[in-house]
């Protein structure tokens, strides 16, 4: 077959595909509607002063629910606790994962393979299963209700994934740039700080946000490890709030949920824009 110019491969859908478009559109829209329905309740109930379980367009849109939950004790303290926990977890992860990833990425060693596979195996352990033993461990070490200890534990649960992602990002930084610094006598840590890290800023941002989102949404770990109300993050305080006022305050619950969810939705959009929507899988799937 000869053509004047090689046809670009992705010119557009073939006729067969074009015919399939309408049914595909319809099926997808139906699926999408099913996924949106449960969320619709959240939005409507938050704007409805007399909300219940039902999804209904509020007769009178009011911000009363938001006003009711926006008090220091109910919303701001728990959100601050969530921020401290999540930012602490992400920071610990970033530092430890960068340190660990550097030798794994730069030097060949018999230790690398087994270590990486052990770490990968660590990502597979069901964290909910180890919460009972972790509670027991924290009781024995008298670490219960301690924010730093909870941060370090939460950091460890996401660390395997963070190490894999960081190593993959670091592998993408060409070694040739470091060689010059090595010749000049810079130590490995200096080369890491001045050359490698600035070049993988974006990757570091992805790892930080990825861990932050996970920690922000984590309910079970702080639920088990943090007992005093003053230390509980929003995920836990919303649960006790629901338990105490559940029968009447659905609108407030929805308003609280929305205020609590907005930060992670925003962070997700930032990362998805910058790194493609499959960012979260870069560590797990591409290996």
């Amino acid at each position: 077959m000869t053509t004047a110019a090689p046809a670009p491969r992705h010119l557009g859908p073939s006729p067969g595909q074009r015919r399939a478009r309408l049914p595909a559109d319809a099926a997808l829209l139906l699926i999408g509607a099913c996924f949106l329905l449960p969320l619709l309740w959240l939005v409507f109930a938050s704007l409805d002063a007399g909300a219940g379980h039902q999804t209904r367009v509020p007769g009178k849109v009011s911000l009363d629910n938001f006003a009711a939950v926006m008090t220091p004790g109910l919303l701001f303290q728990p959100l601050w606790n969530s921020l401290v926990l999540s930012a602490g977890t992400a920071a610990v992860n970033l530092v430890v994962a960068v340190l660990a990833a550097y030798p794994l990425s730069r030097y060949r060693s018999r230790f690398n393979g087994p270590f990486l596979y052990a770490v990968l195996f660590g990502t597979c352990l069901p964290i909910t299963a180890i919460m009972v033993p972790v509670y027991g461990l924290f009781v024995q070490l008298e670490l219960l209700d301690s924010m730093p200890a909870t941060v370090f534990f939460m950091a460890t649960t996401t660390l395997p994934m963070a190490i894999w992602m960081t190593k993959n990002f670091m592998d993408g930084v060409p070694v040739s740039l470091e060689e010059a610094a090595w010749v000049d006598g810079a130590s490995a840590m200096v080369a890491l700080r001045t050359i490698v890290l600035p070049l993988m800023r974006q990757g570091l941002g992805v790892v930080f946000i990825f861990v932050f989102i996970q920690a922000w949404g984590n309910f079970f770990v702080p639920f088990v490890l943090l007992l005093s109300e003053a230390r509980q993050p929003a995920a836990v305080s919303i649960f006790s709030f629901f338990g105490q006022h559940g029968a009447v305050a659905y609108g407030q619950l929805a308003a609280f949920s929305i205020l609590y969810s907005v930060p992670v939705l925003a962070l997700y959009v930032i990362v998805a824009r910058g790194a493609g929507s499959s960012f979260a899988l870069s560590g797990a799937v591409k290996g």
Binding site: R21, I31, W41, H53, I127, V264, S277
Partner: protein, 305 residues
């Protein structure tokens, strides 16, 4: 893996070189310490504590006594264990392996045929349920399936029966909720995998007159079988660990009708205060997770030359 040439020092005694090679691994130490203390530690402690009568409060909380296999004997004669194991298998099989996996694949395939804006909008809706904090997703699902919730409103409009899902069919409700919550992961995996299938392969099949289903079954699916296996492993492990969704929606009830293993471990340890028995349940769950984890690591190693 890039290796720095010239990082080896000038001729030095062999011991010194060996020492240097070790020293290069020093930065890994904090990671190893954290993993040992907070991950390996609790797992080992779990196996140990499951042989004791450790309790949440009281005398046995301070000085747990060794009870040998008592917890396991109790566990394996407890009628709740087979029930809970069965419910966990049903939950993982129904909501992850069938539900999330097939729906995720379907959405990914449809997205390639649909108009771009439609695909983008639906992708956002699916991902939204996944990105939300799990407790918020659980509340939304609870409201959706409750007696006068959205689902029954819909069924009412259609003139169908309106059961109390969370009491009459708790497993159906939490399985559907988990499909809603987790399908985004499979969708993202399959979208990435389908994008990697070279267009000329499917075009060649099209030239040969293969229909859409034939192309999917005999060309596309075999080409992405690596991604399918990876996805199945990961969603199995994720679903095995689901606690919050079940806890908020049904708390394992009514009368254990939706008590999956993580819920059982939690209830035994914290509601009934029997840490020893709870860790025995947790140990079973850890072993199941470890078996899948080992299979997953093997799979990845085989995939690499």
């Amino acid at each position: 893996m890039p290796v720095l040439p010239g990082s080896r020092p000038q001729p030095t005694p062999r011991t010194q070189a060996a020492f240097r090679r070790r020293a290069r691994l020093l930065p890994v130490v904090p990671a190893v310490l954290l993993l040992l203390v907070f991950l390996a530690g609790p797992v080992l402690w779990a196996f140990h504590a499951s042989f004791t009568n450790a309790a949440l409060t009281g005398r046995n909380a301070r000085n747990p006594g060794w009870v040998g296999l008592e917890n396991y004997q109790r566990l394996f004669t407890d009628p709740v264990l087979p029930l809970s194991l069965g419910l966990t298998v049903l939950f993982v099989g129904g909501s992850a392996i069938l539900g999330q996996n097939l729906l995720g694949l379907t959405i990914a395939v449809l997205m390639r045929q649909a108009r771009k804006p439609v695909a983008a909008a639906v992708g956002t809706a699916v991902v939204a349920a996944w990105v939300l904090p799990e407790i918020v997703a659980a509340f939304a699902a609870y409201a959706y399936f409750s007696r006068d919730g959205t689902l029954n409103q819909l069924l009412g409009w259609l003139g169908l029966g309106q059961p109390d899902w969370l009491y009459a069919f708790p497993m159906v409700a939490i399985m559907l909720a988990n499909v809603w919550r987790g399908t985004a992961f499979s969708m993202l995996v399959y979208r990435a995998a389908l994008d990697d299938v070279p267009a000329d392969v499917t075009e060649a099949a099209l030239m040969d007159g293969a229909g859409a289903w034939q192309r999917l079954a005999f060309i596309t699916l075999p080409m992405i079988r690596g991604s399918i296996a990876t996805n199945l492993m990961l969603i199995t492990l994720q679903t095995l660990a689901v606690f919050t969704l079940v806890w908020v929606m049904t708390a394992g009830g009514p009368s254990n009708a939706s008590t999956t293993l993580p819920v059982l471990a939690y209830v035994e340890a914290f509601k009934f205060g029997d840490i020893g028995y709870g860790t025995a349940v947790a140990s079973v769950l850890i072993l199941i997770g470890a078996a899948f984890g080992a299979a997953y690591v093997r799979l990845l190693r085989q995939g690499k030359p």
